[in-house]
Amino acid sequence: MTERKKTVSAAVLFLILGVFGVLKSADYSLGQLSEIGPGYFPMLISSLLIAVAMIMLLRK
């Protein structure tokens, strides 16, 4: 596998997990920042994961 293909495969995996995370986190109440609910943190992490995956895909 070429480097590019490896990066893309990995990015896709991250993307899928991230999207899954965001969708599932929405089921748990997010709450507000001053009173964070159980869904907030997973949502945050999942969104960051999606962001990283996108950067990996769009670079080069």
Binding site: K6, Y28, P38, V52, M56
Partner: protein
């Protein structure tokens, strides 16, 4: 002096028969693991992690694991020098001049220098830990949740940035680890996150399972599929002692290496690997005859060998005093604490004094064991390489299954090994380091906790991270470390696919 009193207490703890025994066992296993290429301290510690749960006393567990870790540093040098086979990445540098020395018939001398340099570094590093551990923890009491969160960000990003793999995938792995840590019942709200009505998941995923599967078994699987055969020829050693000149030339490199390793070991991403590489570069630069490097310059062995030992040991400091793991190995040690119901953080030293000082004392004892054992037993270690994989690997697999089951007497956990192994394998194939995921996992709940508290205290304001000076400082350091990592990666080529530090 209080330090002496503490050390005395530490030696008291370390000298019990149990702890001595496990120290010895740990360093023996560590040396063996170090000798065997491919399988490093991280997989070995992961596989043995559940075992520490059953040892009763957390000190014993820590002593054992720590022994394995710095034991691998000694073991890795042996094969690097004799067989041009670096057992660990941190020993890769030792191959360069160490093997040349062997070819010139000075292999025994190289081994002796490596062992002695390592012992010196280990002793100094142990003293350092003793001296700065407690004051550092005191400093940390000044930390609030915001500072702690920023510290964790620095730790996580730093370790990814200065590690072997590419930056972005590494960050993604950390994030994935943190996400996995949220699986289970949320302690604050009672909500079950990502549980999918599987009752066995309600308490979350056990770190040991993830570590054994993703790090240990995946490594095994990968080697089985891609590197099945590895025959090694073991050379004969003519003599085991360095001559006067070699000894003289090794003094300064050992001192420098110890200093370099001691400092670099404290940094996120630091530890044995970074230290040994840095030391080699420094030695080459300051040498009066740099052209000898690569042709058997003993400085190229003494420096990196002391550096990697110093680095391996001082990397314990942030973990023990702040609860901050600077590399994946430290993350596993943190997990040992957590498994034994000790919350890592600055209070560990004050509330678990026997643990801290006992561990420090035993580190020195371990180094002593190693320097005494390595040289006479060289023949045994190298013949370890002749053990066929088809004997060794099934043993490891069985060990993992037993370990996994022993955690909760639950088959689900054992079955969970399989998906983790596959995931670990897939990522290895994609050339991505899996260790950061373990780090993210271990730190995940701590991070979430501190983040929540910060937000509650600041009433939802994000700017608090930048307003508080310590936090701002830590975050700025993070940016610096990211830049340093980028710069480093453009200079240094990728070095294989192992994740131990």
């Amino acid at each position: 002096m209080e330090l002496l009193a503490n050390l005395a207490q530490g030696f008291d703890t370390a000298f019990t028969l149990t702890n001595l025994g496990y120290c010895l066992l740990g360093v023996l296993i560590g040396t063996a693991v170090g000798v065997l290429p491919g399988f490093g301290p991280l997989p070995a510690m992961s596989v043995l992690l559940p075992f520490t749960f059953h040892l009763g006393d957390p000190v014993t567990g820590m002593i054992f694991m720590a022994g394995i870790y710095y034991g691998t540093q000694y073991g890795g040098s042996t094969t690097s020098i004799l067989l041009k086979l670096p057992g660990e990445i941190s020993s890769m540098v030792t191959v360069i001049d160490g093997y040349e020395m062997t070819r010139q018939g000075r292999g025994g001398a190289a081994l002796a220098i490596a062992a002695l340099a390592s012992f010196f570094a280990g002793t100094v590093a142990t003293l350092l830990i003793a001296m700065i551990g407690a004051p550092l923890a005191d400093l940390a009491f000044l930390f609030g949740p915001a500072e702690y969160t920023s510290l964790l960000v620095l730790g996580l990003i730093g370790s990814v940035s200065l590690s072997n793999g590419a930056f972005l995938p590494g960050v993604a792995m950390v994030l994935m680890g943190m996400l996995l840590a949220t699986v289970g019942t949320d302690l604050n709200s009672g909500v079950e996150r990502f549980v999918f009505d599987v009752p066995d998941l309600m308490d979350g995923i056990n770190f040991g399972i993830m570590a054994m599967g993703m790090i240990g078994l995946a490594e095994l699987l990968y080697t089985l599929i891609h590197e099945p055969n590895h025959r090694v020829q073991v050379p004969r050693l003519r003599e085991l002692y360095p001559n006067r000149e070699e000894t003289r030339r090794s003094i300064m490199p050992t001192l420098r290496g110890t200093a370099i390793g001691s400092i670099l070991g404290l940094l996120p991403g630091g530890g044995a690997v970074l230290s040994s590489f840095a030391s080699y570069a420094v030695e080459k630069k300051v040498s009066k005859h740099p052209q000898q490097f690569g042709k058997g310059a003993v400085e190229g062995v003494a420096g990196p060998e002391s550096a990697n030992n110093a680095g391996a040991q001082t990397s314990f400091v942030p973990m023990l005093s702040l609860g901050l793991p600077v590399n994946p190995v430290q993350a596993i040690l943190l997990a040992v604490l957590v498994i034994n119901n000790i919350t890592p953080g600055p209070q560990v030293i004050s509330s678990n004094g026997t643990l801290f000082w006992g561990l420090i004392a035993s580190m020195w004892i371990g180094n002593l064991f190693l320097v005494m054992l390595n040289l006479p037993l060289v023949g045994i270690w190298t013949s370890l390489l002749k053990v066929p994989k088809k004997l060794l690997y099934p043993m490891i697999i069985v060990g993992c299954v037993i370990g996994a089951y022993s955690l909760r007497n639950n088959w689900f956990d054992v079955c969970l090994l399989i998906p983790f192994t596959l995931v670990g394998y897939v990522f290895k194939r994609l050339g991505i380091e899996v260790a950061p995921m373990a780090m993210g996992f271990v730190v995940g709940s701590l991070f979430e906790e501190n983040f929540k508290r910060t937000m509650i205290l600041s009433q939802g304001s994000w700017s608090v991270f930048l307003e508080r000076p310590v936090s701002l400082g830590l975050l700025s350091l993070t940016v610096l470390v990211i830049l340093a990592g980028i710069w480093m990666k453009t200079k240094k080529p990728q070095i294989g696919n192992t994740d131990d530090k």
